[in-house]
């Protein structure tokens, strides 16, 4: 060292670069949607957002796809001491033989949505690969904080697996799937099934999953105020689910799967996420930790994708590729 006075600059530990640019077609769609997609998500906006989601609800007619699917709403036992859980079952009418099933958890940040949200894509898989879809209506935060949502999901899964024969489903070929909050719930249900000796799962499909309540990854900070479901929106969702404990030392891995110390012994995983979204780093880390634990995972990071890009802009070239990758994985895993 020299004797000269030193100027110490403490490098900010949180230094990240500018947000990665959005894919061009996705950016064009964001421009069209304007404020509709980038409204800040706060607790007091939850009722209005739920009402807005409700108007986009998929109708019975849309679910049946001209008779291609038989649609049933089943009420099955909920978690111990909790109300019954409703399951929406869509089964291809063309086949009677036992078939593989997708056990589906909808998106909505733990605070929004119902079990029809996102089903059109799942029905596309079902039509192409001859699958049944079982979509669970879990209770939402903040009225029903953790563990209500994940326990509802798990109870519905256990019922589905034990009544697979009644549903015409092959119990050895059930895949849990979901996007965003639903992806986090799918990952959590897979952890619960492992830890409680529950139903064996053929796979877990985690689409841009919401899995880390700490909400402090580089991508979370980098995308603050940008795109769809930014850090503040994410904070609203996690706080609604976890209350004061959010981000603290005692959060359960069944609430936030990124908290799980052990990711071994899990069903084969599919993880996808956009490079320009809050969840990029937690999702990449989750897949990486599955490999490090000796597991199987397929990871897709779509450049310039914002959160849920394939649903918001399904026509974009990158969205089509993202959706095709999911079908290819399902086909491989199910050997359908």
């Amino acid at each position: 060292m020299t004797g000269e006075p030193m100027t110490t600059t403490t490098p900010a530990p949180s230094a990240v670069g500018p947000p990665p640019p959005f894919d061009l077609e996705l950016a064009a769609v964001l421009d069209v949607l304007g404020d509709q997609m980038s409204l800040p998500v706060t607790v007091d906006m939850i009722p209005a957002m739920r009402a807005s989601f409700a108007q986009w609800r998929t109708s019975d007619e849309d679910l049946s796809r001209g008779g291609a699917f038989e649609v049933q709403d089943l009420s099955v036992p909920g978690p111990p001491g909790a109300p019954a859980v409703s399951l929406l079952v869509c089964r291809p009418t063309a086949t009677s033989a036992p078939m593989a099933a997708i056990y589906y958890m909808h998106a909505g940040g733990m605070i929004l949505g119902d079990n029809r949200l996102g089903l059109p894509e799942a029905l596309d898989w079902a039509q192409e690969l001859n699958l049944a879809i079982v979509s669970v209506e879990y209770r939402l935060a903040p009225e029903h904080p953790h563990p209500a949502p994940v326990e509802d999901c798990y109870a519905g899964l256990v019922w589905t697996a034990t009544h697979a024969g009644d549903l015409g489903v092959d119990p050895d070929r059930i895949i849990v799937a979901g996007g965003s909050a639903g992806g986090g719930l799918a990952a959590a249900v897979a952890l619960l099934a492992r830890d409680r000796g529950g139903p064996p799962l053929a796979g877990q499909m985690l689409m841009c999953p919401m899995i880390d309540d700490r909400n402090d990854s580089p991508s979370s900070r980098q995308m603050a105020g940008q795109g769809v479901w930014d850090r503040n929106a994410n904070s609203t969702g996690w706080s609604a689910l976890l209350g004061a404990g959010c981000g603290g030392p005692d959060v359960s891995p069944y609430a936030a799967p990124a908290r799980a110390a052990d990711l071994s012994g899990l069903p084969t995983a599919f993880v996808d996420v956009g490079s320009a979204e809050t969840f990029r780093d937690e999702d990449v880390t989750y897949a990486t930790r599955i490999w490090q634990a000796g597991g199987r995972a397929e990871l897709h990071v779509w450049p310039g994708g914002f959160h849920g890009f394939d649903r918001t802009a399904p026509q974009a070239a990158i969205s089509r590729d993202a959706k095709a990758a999911r079908v290819r994985w399902l086909r491989r895993v199910l050997q359908a």
Partner: protein
């Protein structure tokens, strides 16, 4: 997406559907999107299949309403909504829906064709002669500069849509502006330069464009405003110059005007019709034709010729006198349009 746009427009009347459509294509243009995203945008915003067909550029893209690209190549139905990409050109962008166009359809056609025009101007390939070429200034500068290594000039030519084997012409425009245009065949049509004067260079291989540029600048010196005080052609092709190119090289900034040029200036001041009349006589196959060009009676022309010959001091009806007149008019233009500075030769200012 069409329904989405309609819903959003209903939610937010101030930012109506048209604004949404404009925003979508503006972003694609800004991001330099290719043709497929533009056609896909047209399809999803219009809510029906869309296609872009440009036979000349061998472009054929068909996109379904859900964004999927179709492999099949079919002929469009003339009843569908369509618009040309190049104004006045053939119908190129098609929406597979019969008319009449609603406000969203009309805006989609308008904005998508505008976006496609930008892309085609940027990436044009193998275009027939006469098409308006992109005038990317940096690339034009490089292909016209003989001091730039050949591989860099070929790259720049590719950016202008000219491959290694293409033939092209340089065009020198009034004011020191340059263009490069694809050429096919030996006959060059007049370039589309609006009201500007232009010298058109010969068709050459891409690497010979600097010589075409030099010839184009010479041709430009032989152009005129086409007015009473500066009669003559606004566009001159270097291919037609013959020995006049040698004459042009002989007239530099320091050259003293020949006595016949001074005589022209003098007689030009005698009457406003004088120079235009002399130019018509010099460039028409007969005096009768010259009278037609000038819209004057034959006898009027005879009177004017007598006056001109008197002032000039030589006959302009005899072959030799006519050649002398032609040379005097050409020299006058060469003096009016002086050769450009050496610095300009090396690094011209561009369109």
């Amino acid at each position: 997406m069409r329904e989405l746009v309609a819903k959003l427009a209903a939610l937010d009347p101030d930012a109506g559907a048209a604004v949404k459509v404009i925003a979508y294509f503006d972003r694609l243009i800004e991001g330099q999107a290719g043709l497929e995203p533009i056609v896909r945008g047209a399809a999803v915003l219009a809510g029906c299949p869309a296609r872009l067909i440009d036979d000349e550029r061998r472009v054929h893209i068909e996109i379904e309403a859900d964004g999927r690209r179709r492999d099949a190549v079919t002929r469009p139905d003339p009843a569908w909504l369509s618009a040309p990409v190049v104004p006045g050109g053939p119908q190129a962008l098609w929406l597979e829906r019969p008319g009449p166009a609603g406000p969203i359809d009309a805006m989609v056609l308008e904005r998508a064709t505008a976006a496609a025009r930008v892309v085609l101007a940027r990436t044009r390939r193998g275009v027939a002669a006469g098409c308006v070429t992109p005038h990317d200034p940096a690339s034009v500068e490089v292909v016209l500069d003989a001091t730039v290594p050949a591989d860099l000039r070929l790259n720049a030519a590719r950016r202008l849509g000219l491959d290694r084997t293409a033939r092209a012409r340089a065009v020198a425009l009034e004011g020191g502006l340059a263009r490069v245009e694809a050429a096919s065949g030996s006959q060059a049509p007049d370039p589309d330069v609006g009201r500007r004067r232009a010298g058109v260079g010969p068709a050459v291989a891409v690497l010979e464009l600097p010589s075409s540029w030099a010839a184009a600048r010479t041709a430009l010196r032989l152009t005129a405003d086409g007015t009473a005080s500066d009669p003559g052609p606004r566009i001159v092709h270097a291919d037609h110059l013959g020995g006049l190119a040698v004459l042009a090289a002989a007239v530099v900034a320091a050259t003293e005007p020949a006595p016949d040029v001074r005589a022209l200036e003098r007689v030009g001041a005698d009457a406003p019709w004088m120079l235009a009349t002399l130019d018509a006589i010099a460039s028409s196959p007969s005096l009768r034709a010259a009278a037609g060009v000038l819209s004057v009676h034959h006898s009027t022309l005879q009177d004017r010729i007598a006056r001109a010959e008197h002032l000039l001091g030589w006959s302009i009806r005899e072959p030799q006198g006519r050649l002398r007149l032609q040379l005097a008019l050409v020299l006058r233009r060469l003096h009016r349009n002086r050769p450009l500075e050496a610095e300009w030769d090396r690094r011209p200012p561009w369109t």
